[in-house]
């Protein structure tokens, strides 16, 4: 009951904001709460419909028949209202204000320190409960059968890929691997909500986005084995995928470095007038890096169409979030930078889909960044070089693996709609498994990239020092052939 009331008052608030936006009605109340209550007492009818978009939404949404917004605004509109600084000061209070660069600020005789964090934690938007049942009063972007089946199938493919490659690493056939277990919904649902023109600047636990865009099992395997077909020419560790064709910039190991780059990419899209945005991913640990803060601030100031998706999976290798930051996690950081933000259940594919879809619309249409904090859990170890049972309880892992499993939850919903059966499941799993085993076999047999690829691409052309070093190396190799791997073509 409490959550429903909360939900209603929030809905009121953003209706109010929308009206003010449309009718030019100036909000002069000092706080969001009071404006909200005054609105309620004003007797404007509370919109009860769950699925019909407000009349003004259709023009903003275009004619996308595959998706339909129930309410076009996200819950984060509340943050927008609070940020509208001018609303704090009315014109007749000129002597009561300090006219400061950036806008007027009201004086107050009260010495009040802002609280270090909100009284309540920012709620987490979800659509499906743990059993895959849609939650009452939930507003979300509709997902068609075709889309839902593709989403579920890709989640299964990702899961299967992770299981197989993890084993392949354990067998010593590849040097390293890192799974997305537990974060399948953030991966796939966010990818599904985007357009293929959107530029992805990934961290490293988002292979599902690349998979959604059509990167094949063979291409994944080629990268992991670092063979001659690897787009990266065997230069980086496994899982550092990248594909120009799929607008997926190559992964680099340092965390958060991709975030300010995404702002630059987004600025370019804006300047070119493209109907696309940059989308960048990071983890909870990344939010402590300077680049995270640089990126959020730049994105807000540059009004760049970029969507930041932070997978808060609770753990940065062995560092839990309590040792990572204070206050209420990541979502609250957005407002300080002037960025609309939402916290979403990262294990709820429909919620992630809706939030990312809506964020993308806002980013492109309004030329602004959006921050999404997805609460999820890294069910696997950080990587094959890690044993997470050394620093976190097995019970915790099991709880997230079983009770809060994002794939199972989405499956229940898809099955309930009659879109998926056990037969489909068995067929898919065996097909994917077969494809992957074939891909691994082929990747393993493929030769390594040629030696010249060690020297190419440092610059656009080979400078004289590299030419000299290549020449010298080849001479050394002739003298000491046994010092060098025999599987690299010369």
């Amino acid at each position: 009951m409490t959550t429903q009331i909360l939900g209603r008052s929030r809905t009121n608030l953003h209706l109010h904001k929308n009206l003010s936006f449309l009718l030019g009605y100036l909000v002069s109340k000092s706080t969001a709460t009071s404006s909200s209550s005054s609105f309620q007492s004003g007797g404007v009818p509370f919109v009860k419909c769950r699925h019909a978009p407000p009349p003004y939404a259709s023009s903003l949404l275009g004619n996308n028949s595959a998706t339909r917004l129930c309410f076009w605004r996200s819950e984060s509109t509340k943050a927008e209202a609070q940020l509208d600084l001018q609303h704090y000061v009315s014109e007749d209070e000129d002597e009561q204000v300090i006219d400061f660069p950036g806008g007027k600020v009201a004086f107050t005789p009260e010495m009040t320190f802002m609280a270090e964090s909100g009284q309540k934690r920012v709620p987490c938007y979800r659509v499906l409960d743990n059993n895959g049942e849609p939650v009452t009063f939930s507003n979300y972007v509709q997902v068609s059968k075709e889309m839902a089946v593709k989403m579920y199938s890709t989640m299964i493919t990702l899961q299967t890929m992770d299981n197989i490659f993890y084993e392949v690493q354990r067998q010593g056939r590849i040097s390293f691997y890192l799974t997305s277990a537990g974060e399948e919904a953030v991966n796939i649902a966010s990818a599904a909500a985007l357009s293929s023109d959107d530029i992805i600047l990934p961290q490293y636990r988002e292979p599902g986005v690349l998979m959604w865009r059509g990167f094949t099992p063979q291409q994944f395997a080629d990268q992991l084995f670092g063979n001659t077909n690897d787009f990266g020419k065997g230069r980086q560790m496994p899982i550092h995928y990248g594909s120009k064709k799929h607008n997926y910039l190559t992964v680099s190991s340092p965390i958060a470095t991709q975030l300010p780059q995404a702002v630059g990419a987004a600025y370019s899209l804006k300047m070119e007038g493209k109907s696309a945005c940059a989308v960048t991913y990071c983890g909870d640990g990344s939010t402590s890096e300077g680049d995270f803060h640089a990126a959020l601030n730049f994105a807000a100031v540059m009004e760049a169409p970029v969507v930041f998706i932070c997978r808060n999976n609770g753990w940065a290798i062995s560092t839990p979030v309590e040792q990572q930051f204070r206050s209420d996690g990541i979502v609250v950081k957005g407002q300080a930078y002037g960025i609309r933000s939402i916290r979403v259940d990262g294990n709820d594919a429909l919620a992630v889909y809706s939030a990312v879809h809506t964020a993308r619309e806002m980013a492109i249409r309004e030329k602004r960044p959006v921050l999404i904090e997805a609460l999820t859990y890294r069910v696997g170890h950080h990587s094959t070089s890690d044993d997470s049972t050394k620093y976190r309880p097995v019970d915790e892992i099991e709880y997230w693996k079983m009770a809060r499993n994002p794939v199972n939850r989405f499956k229940r919903w898809v099955e309930r709609n009659g879109w998926w059966s056990e037969k489909d499941e068995l067929e898919l799993r065996s097909r994917v498994r077969e494809q992957l085993l074939q891909a691994i076999k082929a990747a393993e047999k493929e030769q390594k990239p040629p030696l010249e690829d060690m020297f190419n691409d440092v610059y656009d052309q080979l400078p004289s020092n590299l030419k000299e070093q290549e020449r010298e190396l080849r001479e050394t190799m002739k003298k000491h052939p046994s010092d060098y791997p025999s599987d690299v073509p010369l």
Binding site: R235, K244, S252, T257, P260, Q261, G264, D457, P463
Partner: protein, 364 residues
């Protein structure tokens, strides 16, 4: 950080505070926009030459951008004067005070096929962006197998002594960047060089760090062609022919070295002076040919001697010219202290230090 910001924000007054320092190849007086000596050529100081290069770059490519701290009003050294008015605030703009953000943003912009010309207000403040430069910009092409690159990125930063800059407005951090495969490091010695080299850097398909000798911004004046011209990268220039000893340097130090050459000449020593211009990838061949001729090498830079780029040049040339050398390679560089305010005259690799080293090398 706020104190540091306050200090750096006084930069706008720097030009006028610059003490006089001779630049032997050019008049020492400031002839800003002075009468053209010939058609299409104007006497320009170094900041105006940079400014002209930026006008040319923005004018010749609509997908080029200039940004950084305080660039919108013209920059603390006036290098970006008039750009925002002419090309608009969406192509020439201020950024928040955050160097890692500036370079990260620039990499993303460049990765989308734009020319991103980023200004770091002082080379002393480039370090927060070190990770973005070293781990990101430099490896962007290589790590993607040439699928992506940020070759359109050019990072401009004023470097070096200025007479009163102390620790944080005087440093010469070029050696840090010379240890990074994948970027180029370029430093001009004069206005004409600055314009031509900067245009080459901006149009080079690799990320470049371009250090501008801030002492010369107003002081060095030279005839600069008004048209769009480029000077080649990775090509050193023999500025002065000689037969007894080879001197190698770059940037503001070139003029000091040239004065030493003139004084040495009076004592009957013939010096060959080479401006390296591009530090990586550097033109080893030109230096090698010169040293094979003279048999002696002296390298001079403002940065601390230990681990400076002079060490790299010395080592490479010893490898190639050992049997031709008639004396140990000499280095006349900054001392291994933080850049000191009051003690700057003691720290600097001055003309007479160079002259002494020339003489002792020749007399070895």
């Amino acid at each position: 950080m706020s104190a540091a910001n306050l200090v750096r924000r006084i930069g706008g007054r720097w030009g006028s505070l610059v003490s006089q320092r001779g630049f032997s190849t050019t008049p020492t007086s400031i002839i800003e926009n002075g009468a053209a000596a010939e058609q299409g050529v104007k006497s320009l100081n170094l900041y105006s030459a940079i400014n002209q290069a930026l006008h040319t770059a923005l004018d010749s490519d609509p997908r080029s951008y200039v940004f950084g701290e305080d660039v919108s009003f013209g920059g603390v050294f006036r290098c970006t004067t008039g750009l925002a008015d002419r090309f608009g605030k969406s192509r020439v703009f201020n950024t928040p005070l955050c160097e890692q953000g500036i370079i990260g943003f620039g990499i993303g912009l460049a990765a989308m096929g734009n020319r991103a010309i980023a200004e770091i207000q002082f080379a002393d403040y480039i370090f927060p962006a070190f990770d973005q430069i070293v781990n990101e910009a430099a490896k962007f092409r290589y790590r993607s197998g040439n699928q992506f690159n940020c070759g359109g990125l050019t990072i401009r930063a004023p470097y070096g002594a200025v007479g009163h800059g102390g620790h944080y407005h005087s440093q010469s951090p070029e050696a840090f960047f010379c240890h990074v495969p994948g970027i180029k490091v370029v430093i001009p010695r004069s206005p004409r060089q600055a314009k031509g080299l900067l245009l080459s850097c901006i149009r080079d398909p690799n990320p470049v760090v371009f250090f501008e000798p801030k002492w010369l911004y107003r002081l060095a004046v030279e005839e600069v062609p008004e048209d769009d011209y480029m000077l080649p990268l990775s090509e050193a220039e023999v500025v002065r022919q000689g037969s007894d000893i080879t001197l190698v340097g770059w940037g503001a130090q070139l003029s000091i070295m040239e004065q030493a050459c003139l004084d040495a000449e009076k004592e009957g020593i013939s010096c060959e002076l080479i401006d390296l211009k591009t530090l990586i990838p550097w033109d080893k061949e030109t230096v090698e040919a010169s040293v094979k001729k003279t048999g002696r090498l002296l390298i001079s830079h403002e940065a601390p001697v230990t681990g400076g780029f002079g060490a790299e040049i010395s080592s490479s040339i010893v490898e190639r010219c050992f049997s031709r050398l008639e004396a140990p390679v000499s280095r006349v560089c900054g001392l291994d202290t933080p850049f000191p305010l009051v003690f700057e005259p003691f720290y600097m690799p001055t003309k007479n230090k160079i002259l002494d080293a020339i003489k002792s090398t020749v007399d070895y």
